[in-house]
């Protein structure tokens, strides 16, 4: 990660100053913002997978894995929102714009996952909580894919967001070799970091459950 951070700042900006809105240097945030959004989507899909497994097997271990993935997905979505807002301020002149479809879609995403955790905390029975939140996690993960990848591309007229920063409409990679190396390196590093934090959080969750079971009432 240290190498990615250094490479992101010492190499020329990924955007040419002639094509950029505002300062071209701000476009360096692309190396961090896109991987954060990707990891958020990945976490929500992992949560959906473990929610499906929970509904099949009724094993609480799958519920714990699904919740941890949701928690991390929400954290990464918040980080992507913050970095996106910084980019918006520096290029479009304001932190938030309600007519920008990407910002509205990430806002809806944060709200629905906020509702997921609100529902979990409102249900005292672990079995009911796990079953209901598994169903919600599946529905929300499908919504997340639509909100992150489909809707902003389906309505490009409502977005100032760069659309061809990774691939263009024909599916070809638009980046030059240096930008490509740093970007995919960042994507791999963010994914590896997510895997590490996720496994750590799952292990911590298991330990806390063991401790809860051992404490006499």
């Amino acid at each position: 990660m240290s190498a990615i951070i250094i490479a992101a700042f010492v190499t020329p900006s990924p955007m040419s100053p002639f094509n950029s809105l505002g300062d071209a240097e701000v476009y360096r945030i692309f190396y961090f913002h896109v991987p954060q959004a990707w990891v958020a989507a990945l976490a929500f899909v992992i949560s959906m997978y473990f929610s499906i497994r929970f509904l099949q097997k009724k094993d609480m271990d799958y519920d714990a894995r699904a919740v941890v993935a949701c928690r991390l997905g929400l954290l990464y979505a918040v980080l992507a929102t913050i970095t996106g807002s910084i980019f918006a301020k520096m290029t479009w002149g304001e932190f938030w714009n309600w007519s920008e479809i990407r910002e509205v879609s990430i806002f809806i995403l944060l709200i629905i996952y906020g509702a997921y955790f609100a529902l979990r905390s409102a249900l005292p029975d672990p079995e009911t909580r796990a079953s209901l939140s598994a169903v919600l996690s599946i529905l929300f993960a499908v919504s997340a894919i639509f909100l992150i990848f489909v809707i902003p591309r389906a309505y490009p007229a409502f977005s100032q967001h760069p659309t061809d920063s990774v691939i263009d409409s024909s599916g070809s990679i638009t980046m030059g070799p240096t930008v490509r190396l740093i970007f995919f390196g960042s994507l791999a590093t963010f994914t590896a970091l997510f895997v590490w934090i996720y496994s750590l959080a799952v292990r911590a969750e298991k330990i806390s459950k063991m401790k809860t079971l051992r404490v006499p009432k």
Binding site: S2, I5, I6, A8, F9, E25, R28, W196, L200, R203
Partner: protein
């Protein structure tokens, strides 16, 4: 000093902080797992 380098140093410090925190957490979780197994 170029503003890019200032931001880079701040980001590096934040990353090193997160990394050290995660390393410490990993060690703590490992210790607790070992204690639970024993």
């Amino acid at each position: 000093m170029n503003a890019n380098y200032v931001v880079m140093i701040v980001v590096l410090i934040i990353w090193i902080g997160i990394f050290l925190y995660l390393m410490g957490l990993d060690r703590k979780v490992k210790k607790l797992e070992d204690r639970n197994e024993a």
